[in-house]
Symmetry: C2
Subunit: 553 residues, 2 copies
């Protein structure tokens, strides 16, 4: 324990003790008096005991074992043992005295002699027991004053606790550590808080549907409240799990690509000209001229491939000024982009992406899917069926998808984009037929794809482009790109309104200077997390989401 | 070879061949005539041979072995072998016929019977030999037409080459593969280019100093030209090396932190309010209201720690609207940020960061510092002394740094920030004394640090803050943060002009809700790459740099 953490007792110990007894002796009538004396002594001893007890009641035998720590300003640099991490508590700790810091997640007094509390570190929690003991040796001295102090600490305060790890006979239900508890000898508040505006326990319940009962609605915390108090919300086990899983998606993505010779880049988000037609861009005041936020790294990543980095990827923010409030749209999200030279056919890229996602899904299940693991934690709040990963990806042509939907009775055009509803329906049909939550649509109609998409060589209505779906929702869009400058300019001229190649001079030049045939994709990290866990809203998979109505915290 | 890559000969083969000879026979005067006949036959055979030779000169024996490939539109999906990668060429390939794609980096005809060329894939290159051979069996048939076609291909075109790997007796100087060359049998252009505005060979020379000779200046390519034609510039070995090293820095950074329980986050770059006082921010039009680009993830990362993710990091873009054109400033750069709860002292964080950087430096030297490796490539263009990594980081107090500078004759204030010149001088002094290019200054004056910096507990003129330096230039800035809401508000009131806590409500609330003591740092990825390699300008370590004058490509 550091110097600055030396506890300051909340009360000064009371002074003094029992008065020194006076004694009298009688010499006459010894025998009669012997009896009287014994009776008197008995009485006196009783009184002494009574007085001692009264005095003891005001003595604080736990001075120095509790209180509020001063502000931690790194006052003392003498080397100290690291604090105990609860995720390392095991049978070897039994009988050891440990010192650790934790949130006071819960506390409950039982009579005036016992206090049970729940002490939490991230996803792990342990039961603490504070038992009144003012004299018994071999057990920590815990005074009434200490009990009172501890019982009054506001939940979610950060406390520093010392105690002995003990096994328990009956599994503890409330905490994640089931077979051990800590018998507390010291208890300080490191950071005391006032009661929070949102309770962690309430934030740990799922939001309710519109048609839920009034009581359920009252008890539930809506998405807006949750996001307005995101710092508190992040402490729920659900969010502790979601953001570990999210971090895991990125790690698995990179692990797969690194092993295949991809190099990671960061492309600029500030752009002098709009980077793609179509989607709306945010305008930035760039000194004395306008600039824009990149709505994807599309142009930059193709230019990097033209610069002879034949396999590249990037994980970074993507900005879309679309006034879209839907449950899978945000104005800023995290894009995972790849671009690669192809040799014989763009299906080299499609196969690599399919293998990559299957690798990611298996990796997530392995790392976070164990009993009591992160995925289970998320399901407690947001129930869902496990995400079904296929042996090998199911890849359908767009036209086959249209046929399946028409066979199922949906009236849809052959060369139009699918609606969200169509996509979800197709997801269900594919799942029925192939038992997979993950599939690929290949060969989208040319007219619904961006100008830089390579047309199909055999049927000019289609293109060498693809989307990937999880639970019937799109999480990846990609294509073979036009790598020939002349064809690119021709394609730009066909856009309505046509794009003037001179505003994309650097991009067009990259192909004048020679680029290998290449293909790539943009993946939405937030969506992958959302649909893997089947979260009802993409904002739940993003730490501080942004949409047209939300730009804080 | 795919269907679409089936070569189209650039010329139609000429038709026909030598004429069928007519024969005559005389029966009389056999003996005399026998002689004459023999003489005649001899003569005829000579003529036949002459005619055959003439015919052969116009016959293209290499039809189907060269030409321009049609546009690669993924025409054929029949499975094919992957193309050969030059970085895998070794003794086992001798005698094998390989098919690969490469840039034509150089080509030189020797007489009219030989053509030597340099074929490049990223950092690797091999010598190709095309030898005229119109008849000899056991060697590839190479016609004059084919020679002519190949000799005319513009440098930097992408070619598809088939040939046999052969050992050479004398080391080849021009290419990275020294002991083997490829005897070319087939040669197609996949992507033909026009002559480039900037030559790779020229871009591979260092920019010259202001006082260089006129000839040197003419030959050199300036930074602006280089960046204007970045796609071409990226193909130089120097840049192929720099961006591999840059990718390596990130990998090592994450590897170190992942092993220590850090979780990776992405915080929003769009902010509703300015995130810090001081540095200028870019303004964004966010639907009907103003917004700003985050000038660091500072506030968000502290809020994540308050949300019980006790160890977090982020790699992402950082935006600074500073009108600064210096060699180590850009308006957009890549920040590597960490934030972590501390237990006893903020030096836990300083030690972790020191260990991390030493781990990164050693890792870079190990992965990229081998003979012929990336670091050596960079030094060919940008000569530098190896970066000296210490056994253990040298950590000095700011006040010690001031004393060293004063002892060396510099007149500086005790509590003012160091100028760039001071920093560089201190870097030299530290290197002389401790033989290290990497050191730490701890305990900066409080008044020159941001309001969220924790004051020193013993001397109110100083703070629990630190900068890290490479070759005397700052690459990291960090501190223990104020985690107490009251002290934070007090510190905000002392800024000139004071900050109204209500405009940072969510941030201040994070501490009202209780945050553990914590410390962190922001590192500049671009600068780490710049100073590790001692590049003269930070723009050289960034793929598409941004500054007040540059927002493209």
């Amino acid at each position: 324990m550091s110097e600055e953490q030396k506890p300051i007792a909340s009360q000064e110990p009371s002074q003094g003790g029992p008065a020194e007894p006076s004694k009298s002796a009688l010499k006459k009538k010894a025998k009669e008096e012997e009896k009287a004396k014994k009776a008197e002594e008995r009485k006196r001893k009783e009184e002494e005991a009574k007085a001692a007890k009264a005095a003891a009641d005001s003595v604080d035998v736990a001075v120095g074992s509790y209180g509020k720590l001063p502000l931690h300003q790194s006052q003392d640099e003498t080397p100290k043992e690291p604090l105990k991490r609860l995720d390392t508590v095991g049978p070897n700790d039994v009988g050891n005295t440990v010192l650790f810091r934790a949130r006071l997640a819960n506390s409950r007094q039982q009579g005036n002699k016992m206090l049970f509390c729940e002490l939490r570190q991230g996803l792990v929690s342990i039961q603490g027991l504070l038992a009144l003991n003012e004299a018994t040796e071999g057990r920590p001295l815990v005074s009434k004053q200490m009990m009172k102090f501890c019982a009054a600490i506001t939940l979610e305060s950060i406390v520093l606790v010392e105690g002995e790890i003990k096994p328990v006979d009956i599994e503890i239900e409330a905490t994640t550590i089931k077979h051990f508890e800590v018998h507390i000898s010291k208890f300080w508040t490191a950071i005391a808080v006032n009661p929070l505006p949102v309770q962690i326990s309430a934030a740990s319940h799922a939001a309710v549907a519109d048609d839920a009962s009034e009581e359920a609605k009252k008890a539930a915390i809506g998405l807006d409240t949750r996001l307005n108090h995101r710092v508190i919300d992040l402490r729920t086990a659900t969010n502790q799990a979601i953001f570990r899983i999210r971090s895991g998606v990125k790690h698995l993505f990179r692990e797969f690509l690194d092993a295949r010779g991809f190099i990671e880049f960061e492309t600029p988000k500030l752009q002098g000209a709009m980077t793609e037609s179509g989607a709306s861009v945010f305008k930035v005041t760039y000194f004395d001229r306008p600039a824009f936020l990149a709505q994807s790294p599309q142009l930059a990543k193709q230019m990097i491939v033209a610069g002879d980095f034949e396999r590249m990827y990037e994980i970074g923010p993507v900005f879309r000024a679309e006034n879209s409030w839907g449950p899978r749209h945000m104005t800023e999200f995290t894009g995972m982009d790849i671009e690669m030279a192809i040799e014989h056919h763009y299906h080299e890229t499609v196969t690599l992406l399919e293998d990559m996602l299957i690798f990611v899904f298996h990796g997530l299940n392995k790392r976070f899917g164990q009993p009591g693991g992160e995925i289970e934690w998320v399901r407690k709040q947001w129930p869902s069926e496990p995400f079904v990963v296929p042996e090998k990806a199911v890849r359908l042509r767009f036209s086959e998808g249209i046929k399946m939907l028409r066979d199922a009775g949906r009236e849809i055009e052959e060369l139009e984009d699918l609606s969200t509803e169509d996509e979800k329906t197709l997801g269900r049909l594919v799942k029925e037929k192939y038992n997979t939550d993950f599939f690929v649509l290949d060969k989208f109609p040319l007219k619904i794809r961006p100008f830089y998409t390579m047309p199909d060589p055999n049927d000019e209505r289609y293109s060498n482009s693809y989307d990937f779906f999880m639970r019937g929702q799109e999480i990846l869009s990609g294509a073979q790109r036009v790598h020939d400058a002349e064809l690119l300019k021709h394609r730009m001229s066909l856009v309505d309104p046509p794009i003037d190649p001179s505003i994309m001079k650097d991009y067009v030049n990259a192909f004048e200077y020679g680029a290998p045939p290449h293909a790539g994709a943009g993946l939405g990290l937030d969506r992958i997390v959302q649909f893997f866990l089947n979260l009802p809203n993409i904002r739940l998979s993003t730490v501080f989401p942004r949409d047209p109505g939300r730009i804080a915290p």
